[in-house]
C-alpha cells in the first residue's frame, strides 16, 4: 500500500509541476467552454448550457485519457524512466492504478469549476443527481485513461503512439457530439457516432443533467465504459513493457479493438434498432 500512496503522491506533484498538464487539463478545455457558451447562447438556456457543459467535459476526458495517460506512459518508457522501476520489486499494477487515481484527482477540480461557472454564468440549475453525475464522469474518465494505457502498451514508439492517439482523438472529438451537435448532422454520421465511445459519455451526461436521470438509469453507457475500463486495465497490465527495446508484434495493436469492442456492440445494437 505504501508504494501505491507514494506513487500517487509523486504523480500528483509531478503533474502539478508541469505547465502543459495545467494547460491541457484546465485552460485548453476552458477556452472551448467559453467559445461554446457564446456560440450556443447558453446563458439562460438550460438545454444549450447542458450541451456546452457536456461538450467541455467530454473534451477534457478525451485529453486527460488519451494524452494524459497514453502519451505520458509512452514518454516514460521512451525516456528510460520505466527501466529504472523495472529493477525494483514493483509490478505494473501500482503504476497503472496511480496513473488512474492521479488523472482523476487532477480532473475533478476542472469538473467542479465547470459546474460552478455553468451555474453562475449560464444560470444552469445544479444537477439533481450530483453524485451520479460525478460517478458517471469518473467512470468515463477512468475508461478513457484505460484506452490511453492500452495505446501506450501496443505502440512501439512515440511516433506510433501519437498516430494511434490521433486516430482515436479526432473521430471522437467530431463524431461524438463533443464539439458540435451530432443529432443535427447527417444520418450516416449519427450511425457512425453510435460506434464511438465518447458518444456514450456525451449521452450519459445529458441524460443525468437534462432528463433528471441518475446513474442507475444510464446503465448501458455505464456498462460499456466499465467493460472498457476493466478490459483496458487487464490488457494494459499484460502488455506492459518497461523498456523501449522490448518491441511488441504488430498484431498486438488489435488489442485496441478489444478495448473498443463494447462500443462496437452498442453501435450494432443501436443501428439494428434504428
Amino acid at each position: 500500500m505504501k508504494a501505491y500512496l507514494a506513487l500517487i503522491a509523486i504523480d500528483l506533484k509531478l503533474a502539478l509541476r508541469q505547465r502543459t498538464v495545467i494547460f491541457f487539463n484546465y485552460l485548453f478545455p476552458m477556452i472551448f467552454f467559453f467559445t461554446f457558451g457564446v456560440f450556443f447562447r447558453a446563458r439562460g438556456d438550460v438545454e444549450n448550457a447542458t450541451r456546452v457543459l457536456t461538450m467541455s467535459t467530454t473534451l477534457g476526458v478525451l485529453g486527460n485519457g488519451l494524452f494524459g495517460a497514453g502519451i505520458r506512459a509512452l514518454q516514460e518508457r521512451e525516456m528510460n524512466i520505466l527501466r529504472r522501476y523495472k529493477v525494483t520489486p514493483i509490478t505494473p499494477g501500482p503504476l497503472l492504478v496511480a496513473s488512474m487515481v492521479t488523472g482523476w484527482m487532477i480532473f475533478m477540480p476542472y469538473i467542479l469549476l465547470l459546474l460552478i461557472m455553468s451555474h453562475f454564468w449560464f444560470h444552469l440549475p445544479w444537477p439533481r443527481a450530483p453524485l451520479s453525475l460525478i460517478a458517471f464522469i469518473s467512470i468515463g474518465l477512468v475508461a478513457f485513461r484505460a484506452i490511453g494505457l492500452v495505446v501506450a502498451s501496443v505502440a512501439n514508439t512515440m511516433q506510433e503512439g501519437t498516430i494511434l492517439v490521433q486516430l482515436m482523438y479526432f473521430p471522437m472529438l467530431f463524431l461524438s457530439g463533443a464539439t458540435f451537435p451530432i443529432e443535427r448532422g447527417p444520418a450516416v454520421l449519427q450511425i457512425i457516432s453510435k460506434f464511438i465511445p465518447a458518444t456514450y459519455m456525451v449521452e450519459g451526461m445529458k441524460d443525468i443533467m437534462l432528463n433528471g436521470k441518475d446513474i442507475t438509469n444510464v446503465l448501458k453507457p455505464v456498462g460499456a465504459l466499465l467493460i472498457t475500463m476493466v478490459v483496458g486495465f487487464i490488457v494494459g497490465m499484460n502488455l506492459f513493457r518497461w523498456e523501449k527495446e522490448e518491441k511488441i508484434r504488430g498484431t498486438a495493436k488489435l488489442w485496441v479493438l478489444a478495448v473498443l469492442l463494447p462500443f462496437f456492440v452498442m453501435g450494432i445494437v443501436q443501428w439494428v434498432k434504428r
Partner: protein, 307 residues
C-alpha cells in the same frame, strides 16, 4: 566464504542468436566480482538474468538463495541495481526520488543518511533535470542502496563520467566492499577492474575465456613487462649492452627515452641501473609497466575491450 551467486551451464538465446553459451562461475559473500568484455560479449544478458530481468534459456542460476526466474520479486527486494542509461522524471526532486523508491521495498534506509553519504544532501530539493552527470550517477547509486542490499549489481557505473567523479565512485565501491557487501561489477575500464575487483571473469562471444584475480590473470599473460628509462644525455643503440632477459630494446628519436621489454623485469632493471651508474649517466625517470588486464584480454580474444 558462502556463495551469493552460483551460475552453472547458463545459456541464453534470442531466436537463432546464442548470447550466453554455457557459462559457470560463483561469487562469494563480500567479494567484488568483475565481468569484463566488449559489447556483445554476453555480459548484460548474464547480469540481467541474475537480476531477474530476463529469463534464461537453460542452466542454473541461484542468487541469494533465490531462483531469478521463479522468485523475481523476492530477489529484487533484496538486491541493489545500478543500471546504465536510466532516467527519472525531470521535475522530481532528489530526495523525493529516493523516498519514492524506498517505498517499493519491504526494508529501506533513511533517505537523509543516504543523501549525505553520497554527497547529495545539498541537492535534496533540486529537480532531477538540474543535476550534473556525476550527481545523477551518485543518485542512481543511492537508489541502488535504498533497500540496504547485501548484493549489488553495478552496470558500467562510471561510464561517461569525468575522472574526478570516477574516483569518487571508486571510493564508494571500496566502502561497500569494506562493509562486506557483495558487488557484481561490469565495466569497460581496465583500471577500474584492476583496482576494485577481487576476481574478474573475461567474457567473449558468450563464453568466459578466463577467470581469476587480476594478478593471476596478469601472471597467465605471455606478455612482457616494459621498462621505460629517461636520461639527460642522448643514447645510441650501438653503445647499449645486451640486457639480461631483455627481448627487445628501443630508443626514441632524440635518444633520451629507452624502452626495454623483458620477461624478468627486476633483473633487467637492476642491470640497466648498474650500467647507467657505471657510465655516469644521469637518470631522469624510470617506469616499470607490467602486463595489464587489457593485454591479457587482447591476448585471449584478439579484441580490445571497447570494441
Amino acid at each position: 566464504m558462502a556463495d551469493v551467486i552460483t551460475v552453472r551451464d547458463l545459456r541464453k538465446s534470442y531466436d537463432k542468436l546464442e548470447a550466453v553459451k554455457g557459462i559457470e562461475f560463483h561469487v562469494g559473500a563480500g567479494e567484488v566480482f568483475g565481468l569484463l568484455g566488449p559489447n556483445g560479449a554476453g555480459k548484460t544478458s548474464t547480469v540481467e538474468i541474475l537480476e531477474g530481468l530476463r529469463s534464461r534459456s537453460s542452466g542454473d542460476a541461484v542468487v541469494l538463495g533465490f531462483d531469478p526466474d521463479r522468485q523475481k520479486r523476492q530477489l529484487k527486494d533484496r538486491i541493489g541495481v545500478c543500471l546504465q542509461a536510466t532516467n527519472l522524471p525531470a521535475k522530481i526532486r532528489t530526495q523525493e526520488a529516493l523516498d519514492l523508491f524506498a517505498s517499493f521495498y519491504t526494508r529501506s534506509l533513511n533517505s537523509e543518511q543516504l543523501l549525505k553519504r553520497l554527497q547529495l544532501w545539498d541537492k535534496r530539493d533540486a529537480f532531477y533535470e538540474t543535476l550534473s552527470g556525476g550527481q545523477k550517477q551518485r543518485l542512481a547509486l543511492a537508489m541502488s542502496l535504498v533497500n540496504d542490499p547485501q548484493l549489488l549489481f553495478l552496470d558500467e557505473p562510471t561510464t561517461g563520467l569525468d575522472p574526478q567523479i570516477r574516483l569518487e565512485i571508486h571510493s564508494l565501491i571500496e566502502e561497500l566492499k569494506a562493509e562486506q557487501r557483495t558487488v557484481l561489477l561490469t565495466t569497460h575500464y581496465i583500471e577500474e577492474a584492476e583496482r576494485l575487483c577481487d576476481r574478474v571473469a573475461i567474457m567473449d562471444e558468450g563464453k568466459i575465456v578466463a577467470m581469476g584475480t587480476p594478478k593471476e590473470l596478469q601472471q597467465q599473460s605471455k606478455g612482457q613487462s616494459r621498462i621505460q628509462i629517461n636520461v639527460a644525455t642522448p643514447l645510441r643503440l650501438e653503445i647499449l649492452p645486451a640486457w639480461p632477459d631483455a627481448l627487445d630494446t628501443k630508443l626514441n628519436d632524440d635518444g633520451r627515452e629507452m624502452t626495454v621489454y623483458s620477461n624478468r623485469p627486476a633483473r633487467t632493471l637492476f642491470e640497466i641501473m648498474k650500467w647507467l651508474d657505471q657510465q655516469g649517466l644521469q637518470l631522469d625517470d624510470v617506469h616499470l609497466k607490467r602486463p595489464t588486464l587489457e593485454d591479457v584480454f587482447v591476448e585471449l580474444t584478439g579484441k580490445k575491450l571497447r570494441d
